[in-house]
C-alpha cells in the first residue's frame, strides 16, 4: 500500500506515492533525489538528517513522509541562493567548522533555525542549540565560532 502525498522541498512540489512507514529522510534522499541530508543513526541521536519543516528543525530519519504532506521542507540544498553561499555557510568554511562534512548539513539546519529565532545568540545558546547534532571532527569549536560570526554579520 502506498499513500499519495505532496512534498514541497526547497520550494519545488513533488507529488509522490510513499509507503506509510517511509521516513521523510529516505523519501527525500531516494525519491526526490536530494542526498545532502545524511543518515548517521536512524534514531534521532546524531542530527545529520535534520531538515526544516515549516521552519522547524526535525530529525527527518524519525519523521514520516506522510507527516510532511503539504508542508514546506527545507534541506541543506535549499539554503544557498543559487551559487551564492549564505553568510552561515561561508562562516562554516572560514572558521574551520567543516572537516569531514558529514554532520554539516544537519548543523547548518540547526544553526539556521537558531539564528532565525535568536539573531544574536550567546555562546551558551549556540552550544545548546547544536547539542542535538553530533560532530566527531571539529570539537565544535569552529562550528560555534562560525555561528557566532554569521550572527555578527546579521
Amino acid at each position: 500500500m502506498s499513500i499519495d502525498i505532496t512534498l514541497t522541498v526547497n520550494g519545488v512540489s513533488h507529488p509522490l506515492a510513499v509507503d506509510p512507514h517511509a521516513s521523510l529522510l529516505h523519501t527525500v534522499r531516494d525519491q526526490v533525489g536530494l542526498t545532502g541530508s545524511k543518515e548517521g543513526c536512524d534514531d534521532s541521536e546524531c542530527g545529520a538528517c535534520m531538515m526544516l519543516i515549516d521552519g522547524r528543525p526535525v530529525n527527518a530519519c524519525s519523521y514520516l513522509a506522510v507527516q510532511a504532506d503539504g508542508a514546506e521542507v527545507t534541506t541543506v540544498e535549499g539554503l544557498a541562493d543559487g551559487n551564492d553561499l549564505t553568510p552561515l555557510q561561508r562562516a562554516f568554511l572560514e572558521k574551520g567548522g567543516v572537516q569531514c562534512g558529514f554532520c554539516t548539513p544537519g548543523m547548518l539546519i540547526s544553526a539556521t533555525a537558531l539564528l532565525r529565532d535568536h539573531p544574536r545568540p550567546t555562546e551558551d545558546q549556540i552550544r545548546i542549540a547544536l547539542s542535538g547534532n553530533l560532530c566527531r571532527c571539529t570539537g565544535y569549536d569552529g562550528i560555534v565560532a562560525a555561528v557566532a560570526a554569521a550572527a555578527e554579520q546579521g
Binding site: T35, K38, D42, G96, L134, R136, C137, G139, D141
Partner: protein
C-alpha cells in the same frame, strides 16, 4: 636560484578555504551512501549468532527462495584465502568457527535492503557453541584455551611472538631495574583498567561494487584505499590491476575505517548477483561489525623516584585486548610499551606488554592506538609519584621530561624538541596555581607520538592556462591534510593554492600511499607533492631559460611567471609555457627519513620498528574541571593544549585537529566506552548509550603551537598532527578529578558512577 613567494598565501592570511568546502556546505558533495548505480542490489550480512562457536551447518536454500533475492554468498563461494595485517588469521566468510559476534557468516544481495535483511535472517546456521574467551588477561596465561588453535600454521610477521593466545609480546629492558629500585626514596605502584572504545565516525560505512567483465570497481568509505584494493585482490585471488577503488567524500574515520574491511564481501556479492551491489551499515552495525575499536587494557606500573624528583626505575606490565583477529594492529604491544615509558628520561626500564587474542570485537588502530589509555594511566601514576616525593606534579615533569640531548627510554638521543615548552605553555594558558573553588581543580598530563615515515606518491601537472592539478594517492578523511597539499605545490611553483585542483581518490590514477592513518599525510605525501612540484619547476625553468636565453640559475618563479632575478620585466608566464602543449608533469615521493637509532639491547622482544620515535610529536594538556560530589558528574570547564608538531603548514587545519582530538579525548575520559556482556557481546551499540560529547558538553579549548623547525621530518620542518590531540587528554582530566576527589579514578572512562564510587571510598576510609 631560490623560489620566492612575495604574496602571502591564503593559508598565511588565515583564511585557507578547503577546496572541498563548497560541496560540503551546499549538500551537493557525494559520500559513498549517496552514490547509486542503475540496477543496483542491496546487501545485508548474516553475522555470527554466538561469540564463539563451531559451525556445523549452513543452509541458504530458504534465503535464496525469497522473491527479490539475487545472491547468497558464503565461504564456499570465495577462495579460502586467509588475510590480515601482521597475521593472516581471518576469512571473508567464516567457515568452521566464529570467534566474535561480528564474524560474517554469509552475505545476501537483494532488490531492497529490507529483503536482503529478511533473507540474511532466513539463512539456517547451526553451531556447536564453545565457551566465550573474553578475558584477555586470563587468555595470556600459559595453558589457556586458544582462540586460534591452528594459528601457528598461519602466515605471520617473524617478529611477532606466538605464545598461546599472545599475538604480540614486546619488552623494553634497559639498565638494572632491580638495583636501581633499591636506590629510590619512594616506590609507587598503581593499577589501572581501561575499557574499550570506538572511533564512531558520524558516517556509517558504505560500499558499492560493480563488475565490468573480470574487473571490479569499488566505491567505498575507506581511509586506506590501497589497502582496500590489495585486500580485494588478495582475498578474491585476482590481480590488483583488476580492482579499482574510488573513495567519494569520506565522512570521518578516526582509524575505524583503516584497514581492508568489507570491500571484498560486497565485490563477491556483486559478482554473484550479476549487478552492482551496495552495502550501507546501520549505526548498530557500525558499532558491531568493524574489526576496529580501541583496545581495552589492564596496566600496572611501578616507579622508583628520589626526593629531588629523579625517576630511577620503571617497571610496567600491560595487557591489551586484541580481540578475535589481528588486522593491522599487531604492533600494539610495542607501541603501548613506548607509551608506558612516556616522554621521560629513564635509565632503568623493564616494561612488558602483551597483546592477546580474545573472542571480543577485534581492536585495531583508533586515533593514536594504545596511547590515550596508556598515557591516562601513566600520567595519573606520575601524579602519584609526585605526591609521594612531595613535589608539585608540574615540577616533577619539569625535572624529568625529555629535552634536547636527552637519552629517551630506549636510548634515542633527541634533537631540538619543544617538550618542556609545551609544558610551560599549557600551565600558563590554563592559569595553573590559581585559587579555585573546592570542587574545581587543574590537572596536567604530557604525552608523545611518533611521526611515521612511509613511501608515498604524488603527481603534479600543469594545465594549458597555467593552472595545475595534483594527482595523489593520499586519502582525505576530513582532516584537510589532502586539501592543504596545494599550499606546498604552490610555494614551489610561484603559484597560488587555489590555482590547483586535486584528484583523489582513484587507485587507478594516483600513486600508492598508505592512506589517512598514522598522522602521515602531510608528513609523507606533502614531501611527495613538493618533490613532484620541484620536477615541474625544473621543467619550467629549462623552458623559460631557452625562451628568454637566460641561465636557469638566474630565474625565479613568482606570481605565475618565470622571470629574471633582478629584472622582473624579463619574464614569461607559466600559462604561456604550459600552453605550448609540452607535457609539464612531475612525480615524486621524496627522501624517506630514517628512524633514529636506539641503544636498547637485543634481549628486548617484539621489536617492530617503533622503539624510537621519528620527529616525535610532543604534547602537554591541562584541564580545569568541576566535580559534583553529590553525583560524580564531571564537567571540563577549560582546556589548554600545547603541541610541538614542528612547523605548522596549515594552521586552520592543524587547530581543527586539536579541537576535535581534545573533544574525542574528553569523551574517552568521561563517557565513551563499549561495554561487553560476560560473553563479549556489545551492550551499548548505539549513540544513545555510547555517549559522544556534544557542543554543550565541551569547554573552550586554547591551542598553542610550539613550532620547532624539525630536521629529518616532513615538509617545511613539520611533524604529524592528527593523532596526538587525543593522547594526554584523559590523563589531564583524570589528574584534575583526583585533585578534587583526593584519589585517582582507576577505571576509564571516568564515568559519574566511577567518580562517585571513588568519592565514597575516600569518605569511608576517612571515617
Amino acid at each position: 636560484m631560490t623560489v620566492t613567494e612575495e604574496r602571502p598565501t591564503a593559508e598565511q592570511q588565515g583564511t585557507f578555504i578547503r577546496p572541498d568546502g563548497k560541496e560540503k556546505v551546499t549538500g551537493l558533495g557525494r559520500y559513498t551512501a549517496d552514490v547509486n548505480l542503475t540496477g543496483q542490489a542491496h546487501a545485508a550480512f548474516r553475522f555470527a549468532d554466538h561469540p564463539h562457536a563451531r559451525i556445523t551447518r549452513i543452509d541458504t536454500s530458504a534465503a535464496r527462495a525469497i522473491p527479490g533475492v539475487y545472491a547468497v554468498v558464503t565461504h564456499e563461494d570465495v577462495p579460502e584465502n586467509l588475510y590480515g595485517g601482521m597475521v593472516q588469521d581471518r576469512l571473508l566468510f567464516a567457515k568452521d568457527t566464529v570467534r566474535w559476534e561480528g564474524d560474517v557468516v554469509a552475505g545476501v544481495a537483494a532488490r531492497t535492503q529490507a529483503i536482503a535483511r529478511e533473507a540474511a535472517a532466513a539463512i539456517v546456521v547451526e553451531y556447536d557453541v564453545l565457551p566465550a574467551l573474553p578475558d584477555f588477561v586470563a587468555n595470556a596465561q600459559p595453558g589457556a584455551p586458544l582462540v586460534h588453535p591452528e594459528w601457528t600454521a598461519y602466515d605471520a610477521d617473524d617478529d611477532l611472538s606466538r605464545e598461546g593466545n599472545v599475538v604480540g609480546h614486546s619488552t623494553i629492558l634497559k639498565g638494572d631495574v632491580d638495583a636501581a629500585m633499591e636506590t629510590a626514596d619512594v616506590v609507587v605502584t598503581s593499577r589501572f583498567v581501561a575499557d574499550a572504545s570506538q572511533g564512531a565516525p558520524i558516517e556509517p560505512r558504505a560500499i558499492l561494487a560493480q563488475w565490468t567483465g573480470d574487473r571490479v570497481t569499488v566505491w567505498t568509505s575507506t581511509q586506506v584505499p590501497f589497502a582496500a584494493r590489495d585486500g580485494v585482490a588478495h582475498t578474491l585471488g585476482i590481480p590488483q590491476s583488476h580492482v579499482r577503488v574510488i573513495v567519494p567524500l569520506l565522512g570521518g574515520g578516526f582509524g575505524s575505517k583503516c584497514d581492508f574491511h568489507f570491500e571484498a564481501h560486497v565485490a563477491a556479492l556483486a559478482e554473484a548477483a550479476g549487478r552492482p551491489v551496495k552495502l550501507v551499515f546501520s549505526r548498530r552495525e557500525e558499532f558491531l561489525a568493524p574489526d576496529h575499536r580501541r583496545e581495552g587494557m589492564v596496566l600496572e606500573f611501578e616507579t622508583g623516584a628520589t626526593k629531588d624528583g629523579h625517576l630511577v626505575a620503571r617497571r610496567a606490565t600491560l595487557h591489551l585486548d586484541k580481540g578475535a583477529y589481528t588486522g593491522e594492529g599487531g604492533f600494539f604491544a610495542q607501541m603501548a610499551a613506548m607509551h608506558a615509558c612516556g616522554p621521560y628520561e629513564l635509565d632503568n626500564v623493564a616494561v612488558r606488554a602483551m597483546l592477546t587474542y580474545s573472542t571480543n570485537q577485534p581492536s585495531s588502530s583508533i586515533r593514536a592506538p594504545t596511547a590515550p589509555q596508556t598515557c591516562w594511566a601513566l600520567e595519573q601514576h606520575m601524579d602519584q609519584v609526585a605526591a609521594a616525593v612531595g613535589l608539585d606534579p608540574v615540577e616533577l615533569r619539569r625535572r624529568t621530561l625529555i629535552r634536547q640531548g636527552s637519552h629517551g627510554p630506549t636510548g634515542q638521543v633527541f634533537d631540538e624538541i619543544g617538550m618542556l615548552d609545551t609544558l610551560e605553555a599549557a600551565v600558563e594558558m590554563i592559569g595553573y596555581g590559581q585559587e579555585l573553588p573546592d570542587d574545581e581543580a587543574i590537572g596536567v598530563a604530557c604525552g608523545w607520538w611518533p611521526s611515521m615515515a612511509s613511501p608515498s606518491g604524488a603527481y603534479v601537472k600543469l594545465n594549458g592556462d597555467g593552472t595545475g592539478t595534483i594527482v595523489t594517492g593520499a586519502q582525505e578523511c576530513g582532516t584537510g591534510a589532502v586539501m592543504a597539499l596545494p599550499i606546498l605545490a604552490a610555494e614551489q611553483l610561484g603559484m597560488r593554492p587555489d590555482d590547483f585542483s586535486i584528484l583523489y581518490q582513484d587507485t587507478d590514477a594516483g600513486p600508492w600511499d598508505m592512506g589517512a592513518s598514522g598522522s602521515q599525510t602531510t608528513f609523507n605525501n606533502g614531501r611527495a607533492v613538493v618533490a613532484a612540484a620541484q620536477e615541474v619547476r625544473a621543467q619550467l625553468l629549462q623552458m623559460a631559460a631557452e625562451k628568454l636565453e637566460i641561465d636557469p640559475a638566474d630565474l625565479e618563479l613568482v606570481d605565475g611567471t618565470v622571470r629574471a632575478v633582478g629584472a622582473p620585466s624579463t619574464s614569461v608566464t607559466i600559462a604561456e609555457l604550459a600552453g605550448t602543449g609540452t607535457p609539464l608533469l612531475g612525480k615524486g615521493s621524496g627522501d624517506l627519513p630514517e628512524n633514529p637509532p636506539t641503544d636498547i639491547p637485543s634481549a628486548c622482544v617484539g621489536r617492530l620498528g617503533l622503539d624510537s620515535f621519528l620527529a616525535p610529536q610532543l604534547i602537554t594538556h591541562a584541564a580545569r574541571v568541576k566535580v559534583d560530589r553529590e553525583t560524580g558528574v564531571v564537567r571540563v570547564l577549560a582546556f589548554a593544549a600545547a603541541h610541538d608538531s614542528g612547523v605548522i603548514v596549515n594552521k586552520i587545519g592543524a587547530d581543527g585537529q586539536v579541537y576535535g582530538g581534545v573533544m574525542m579525548g574528553i569523551g574517552q575520559a568521561l563517557s565513551e566506552a563499549t561495554y561487553f556482556d560476560e560473553e563479549g557481546r556489545q551492550r551499548n551499540p548505539g549513540l544513545l548509550d555510547y555517549k559522544l560529547q556534544t557542543a554543550s558538553d565541551g569547554p573552550r579549548i586554547d591551542v598553542r603551537w610550539i613550532e620547532v623547525d624539525t630536521p629529518n621530518a616532513g615538509p617545511k620542518g613539520s611533524k604529524g598532527v592528527g593523532e596526538p590531540p587525543s593522547v594526554p587528554t584523559s590523563g589531564a582530566v583524570g589528574n584534575a578529578i583526583a585533585q578534587v576527589v583526593g584519589r585517582h579514578v582507576t577505571q576509564l572512562p571516568m564515568t559519574a558512577e566511577r567518580v562517585w564510587t571513588t568519592i565514597q571510598d575516600v569518605q569511608e576510609e576517612a571515617k
